[in-house]
Symmetry: C2
Subunit: 177 residues, 2 copies
């Protein structure tokens, strides 16, 4: 299973691709950050982001996309751009018929560090360890994108295992009938 994680933003959008499954070691396929100049036209910034994400989809062919769920924070102006930016990977996934999940920051932190209130340094440190990287991914947006992808593999895997268990149970029930 190969997952593209996206930490959405217009000024900095983190992208990370992780491959692996439950009980298998995870591997980092790619990591990066897309930046668009704050002074540019917002529509042009969205289009630049779309072009980059389309390139990543084409280059890495993920099986699923995981995007950070955007919440309102103190910085309302920034949050609107972030919400608009989050539409780009959502559209990219839907256009390709790929499963898309939105994970909250605390779900992601809990998945990679065991603590839903972990700080950025802890997340980066655990991402570096889980993916056995020589160098910690920088900036934090890049590490967050990898954390989202890791979270998705692990949570998605859990969902799959439950679905498999249910299917197996139903198959057994069917066989007994």
């Amino acid at each position: 299973m190969r997952v593209l994680g996206v930490d959405p933003g217009l000024t900095r959008c983190g992208l990370g691709v992780v491959e692996g499954g439950i009980g298998q070691p995870l591997r980092m396929v790619a990591v990066g950050v897309v930046r668009t100049p704050p002074g540019d036209d917002p529509a042009e910034r969205l289009l630049s982001l779309q072009t980059e994400i389309d390139d990543w989809m084409h280059a890495h062919e993920p099986d699923a996309v995981a995007v950070e769920r955007v919440f309102a924070k103190a910085n309302i102006k920034g949050i609107m751009g972030t919400a608009q930016a989050s539409a780009v990977p959502m559209l990219a996934a839907a256009r390709r018929g790929l499963p898309l999940a939105l994970h909250t920051p605390s779900e992601v932190k809990a998945a990679v560090t065991g603590n839903g209130r972990a700080d950025k340094a802890q997340v980066t440190s655990m991402v570096t360890r889980i993916l056995r990287l020589q160098v910690a991914p920088r900036p934090a947006d890049a590490a967050d994108a990898l954390a989202l992808a890791i979270c998705h593999v692990w949570r998605g895997g859990a969902h799959d295992r439950i679905a498999q268990a249910v299917a197996a149970q139903q198959a057994r029930a069917g066989a007994r009938r």
Copy 2:
């Protein structure tokens, strides 16, 4: 000048196309509302909206796109979907190289009614009168989309007139040199 106005939203997105210019009567070309089911996957909803807006762009070939600028209100959950929905016409305009403007609700109200704090009924009533429609456009999202397009023609026209005056001034200055 033909303008597509978009009142963004996931549950209801108003679309209105208006044609005309400064000092000319305005004409309504099309009006409608795109609805996507609140229970559906958010990425699928964005994709449905994108498909509809692309169809409108293709059918009506606007020269410019005007989108309501999204602000944070009390309903934070709804505002995130609205912000994501607003990315769709912004991307559609940028992809086609069309000029895009974001107008605030009070700019639109002031343009069509003369009062930046007009209510929905006043906006609908003035839109109906300006476009000489037999029937008031419904729902309010549809009337708002037409109001955005009207506002854009009038404000865009003003910008154009200033630009023309500056260009004429420069041409005269050049001729005197």
